[in-house]
Amino acid sequence: MRFLRDSFIVFRRQLRMNLRNPAWVIIGALQPVLYLLLFGPLLTPLVDQFGVDNAYTFFVPGLLVQLGIFGAFFAGFSLIGEWREGVIEAERVTPASRTALLVGRLGRDVLQLFVQALILVALGYVMGMNASIQGLAIGVVLTLLIGGACAAASNALALTTKSEDVMAPVINMVMMPVLLLSGILLPMTIGPQWLQDASEFMPIRHVVDAVRGSFVGDFAMSTMMWGTVWTLLLFGLALWWGTRTFRKENA
């Protein structure tokens, strides 16, 4: 109970600060919208090669995961600002649970992601996406979990590096292979075999496949299972890392 209350206090404070400066929220929401509007039409003539009926039914799930990963990975930047101003230390000297200090922040990131996901899905429908409500709900939940995992990792990275200058290249270094090997923009199946094999080792690819599968109502056991397992595993690992960092002496 106490944990939930502390998490909520931190969540509300973070949300208030975000609403006071919504530039990042707007930029974050605009990015997938631009992808959808400016990149989506390029996919339309290629859908036959992908083996799907509709370009947007293929593309929106990928964009959702991209939004979850990329948007959330930048969450740590605001934490560095808070750390610099002594906010983290002031919170750590209260009796509040360290996990609550992280979970409150993740709550803000996940809510922001949820709103962005709603915008994206609504726009996807407008542009002709064809997805079942049930599949869509599962896909969004997986996206929120993977987004939460990335936000937790980003917060942990922020408190470890304590420098925007270090964090930005690290995020870029991680994100580039994730974007290219997870089939977010184009399906890996159209690539050469070696590239497909390489992408098997990219956990996010399985998450993208699962979200994509749920959108088209294909709940094939192995795809969904691997996607869900990876999502939960990454979420658990990132939460553990984040909490450990908040607990650490020099946080």
Binding site: R16, G81, T94
Partner: protein, 370 residues
């Protein structure tokens, strides 16, 4: 209220590929009674902040043990946190948030209700002269206002033990004097026990019932300001003679009644027309000295008596002045010297020591006939 035995903290620092272990706090024992205001004085890098961070549960001691408000800082960390208020060097409010909301959120993390923390917060704003700033952002506040807001954050849950880390660093003299009043109020109004770290001699002198001097991770003295000063060999008497050729005689006269050199303090010092030495009870010795100088026809431009300062105490105890220690610490930090014992204690504001608080009694003479 605070008891520590053999508190040690070591850090790993890395220079290139080489790892070095630095002992920031090298075995601190301390006992602080309820209602005491204790100043923890030392140069940058002495181990002040590291000690304070161990006592406030932010750092885990490498060795030793400590209890704060009756709770062990490692085993009962949550109970310690409930019992203490902490004002760090960096503050604790986000510059882009509203001051009142920050204070309320902070208070609620102590389990207090929203209504309770709002009433308490507004009361503290009034007491600390922050009226009308409830909805202001800290980034628009002056340094003094911001520091008082930090103190409000530390007091929002009504702790009886308050830790203040370098509370006036970076403030202008007027804001410092104002903040001192508020810190003094903490005990007068609330009976709070206050543990404050400072590298300002005058701050420790003005605010503390008792001063603990820390140098290179060890407490080298702990007593009242007066008792510490009494350990220093006498008052400093500074004679300014008119005729430099008479300097040798002045040195002899002053030297005959001066304290011998010891504990790093020199005997008779000569600097141009100035002759200085330490005398026990200078007030009593000076009339005789003046008569003696008069008989030898030595004309004086001035004579000044300086009461011992805490810098003299530091010099006596460590063989170097507090300001020299600060300079050495800063130079070593700039050069990346691992000897700087406290990585947690990087200066965040004005790191120069304030002028030492000394009581100067000056008598001016224009000739030997007086």
């Amino acid at each position: 209220m605070i008891h520590a035995r053999g508190l040690v903290k070591t850090f790993q620092t890395r220079q290139g590929r080489e790892k070095t272990e630095v002992e920031a706090v090298a075995g601190v024992d301390l006992d602080i009674a309820e209602g005491e205001v204790v100043g923890f004085l030392g140069p940058n890098g002495a181990g002040k902040t590291t000690t304070l961070r161990m006592l406030t549960t932010l750092l885990r001691p490498t060795a030793g043990e400590a209890t704060v408000a009756g709770y062990d800082v490692v085993r009962d960390a949550v109970q310690v946190r409930r019992s203490i208020g902490y004002v760090s060097q960096t503050g604790g409010t986000f510059s882009g948030a509203r001051a009142g909301e920050e204070v309320m959120d902070h208070g609620m993390l102590y389990g207090r209700s929203r209504k309770e923390v709002e009433a308490r917060g507004r009361e503290l704003f009034a007491q600390l002269e922050l009226d009308g700033l409830w909805n202001r952002m800290p980034k628009t506040m002056s340094g003094g206002q911001k520091r008082r807001l930090d103190i409000v954050m530390g007091l929002i849950h009504e702790p009886t033990l308050v830790f203040l880390d370098e509370p006036t660093t970076g403030l202008d003299p007027q804001a410092r004097a104002n903040l001192w009043q508020h810190i003094a109020d903490l005990r007068r109004r609330r009976g709070a026990t206050v543990f404050l770290t400072t590298h300002y001699l005058d701050e420790a002198d003005a605010l503390s019932d008792r001063i603990m001097i820390i140098d290179r991770g060890r407490i080298v003295a702990a007593d009242t300001s007066e008792n510490l000063k009494a350990q220093v060999a006498g008052d400093l008497v500074d004679l300014e003679i008119v005729d430099e050729s008479q300097r040798a005689i002045a040195v002899e006269k002053l030297g005959s009644i001066a304290e011998p050199p010891r504990h790093g303090l020199p005997g008779v010092e000569v600097d141009g027309t100035h002759v200085r030495a330490r005398l026990q009870r200078a007030g009593r010795a000076i009339p005789g000295l003046l008569r003696d100088l008069d008989r030898s026809s030595i004309a004086l431009d001035s004579i000044e008596v300086h009461r011992p300062t805490l810098d003299d105490v530091f010099l006596t105890l460590t063989g170097r002045s507090l300001r020299d220690a600060e300079d050495a610490a800063e130079a070593a930090a700039a050069a990346g010297d691992p000897d700087v014992p406290d990585p947690a204690e990087a200066p965040t504001g004005d790191s120069s020591a304030a002028p030492a608080h000394d009581e100067t009694h000056a008598y001016t003479r224009t000739g030997a006939d007086q």
